[in-house]
């Protein structure tokens, strides 16, 4: 059995937990405007699940699941959507929060001042920017990990 992954224990545990890690990462991104965390942190958590898959199953583990070109495209989509969201409020200022307290359906609700549990549908551009940056970070770090693993493997065989 030609396989450069790790032992069957690691692979079995990885099969159990990698979905939960991805789910937790998306939770951190989604609630970035309410709880600690945000786009950067949640994206790093999701990317760590991809890194775990790579370590446990070896370079063949992600073949057919994650495409490097797709990852790079999604990273640029995240970066450009972050820039576009920043340019939305250019009428007032760069990075002006256009949707906050607007009352619209897109995160436009207001938050009562003082201690409270937070309102999910509030924050204006902040949750949307969280998603953009989260997409960028998760695909970017996953691309870095995959590129470095494939590159080092190639040098071993040469």
């Amino acid at each position: 059995m030609k396989n450069n992954g790790m032992s069957i224990i690691v692979r079995t545990v990885t099969r159990f937990v990698y979905g939960l890690i991805i789910l937790f990462g998306f939770y951190v991104i989604m609630h970035g405007h309410l709880s600690p965390g945000g786009g950067f942190q949640g994206g790093a958590v999701v990317a760590s699940a991809f890194a775990l898959l790579l370590v446990a199953f070896g370079s063949t583990g992600l073949k057919g699941r994650l495409n490097l070109h797709w990852l790079q495209t999604m990273e640029e989509v995240g970066a450009l959507s972050f820039l576009a969201l920043a340019f939305l409020g250019i009428g007032t200022a760069f990075f002006y929060n256009l949707f906050a307290n607007s009352g619209g359906f897109l995160f436009g609700a207001s938050v009562p001042t003082g201690s409270n549990a937070g309102v999910f549908a509030a924050g204006g551009l902040v949750p949307l920017m969280n998603w953009a940056v989260g997409l960028k970070v998760m695909t970017g770090i996953a691309a870095i990990v995959i590129i470095m693993l494939v590159g080092s493997r190639k040098e071993e065989t040469e």
Binding site: Q72, A100, G118, I144, G151
Partner: protein, 91 residues
């Protein structure tokens, strides 16, 4: 000789650090807190976000976050340029 010089340098740096510790303000009482007070007082009203850190990162200091995203982009592009497979005619 080399060890003595290292030890003297160690003593100097340590003395400076200890002097700095003696001059430190007590925990939780910064000298200038105008910006912090403004964020804490106005974030919920202006940005409608409970997480003040996220409000600072994505709203008040959004330009800084753009720079961080650019750093990540540059890292990905640099690593791709370093590790990419060379084409046949470049070998």
């Amino acid at each position: 000789m080399r060890k003595v010089a290292l030890f003297v340098a160690f003593l100097f740096v340590g003395a400076f650090l200890l002097l700095g510790v003696a001059d430190m303000r007590p925990f939780g009482e910064p000298q200038i807190a105008d910006m912090d007070d403004y964020y804490i007082a106005n974030t919920q009203r202006e940005v409608a976000v409970n997480n003040v850190v996220t409000a600072v990162v994505f709203d008040y200091r959004g330009f800084d976050t753009l720079g961080e995203a650019t750093v990540l982009f540059a890292a990905v592009v640099g690593i791709l340029a370093l590790f990419r497979k060379p084409r046949e005619d470049e070998r």
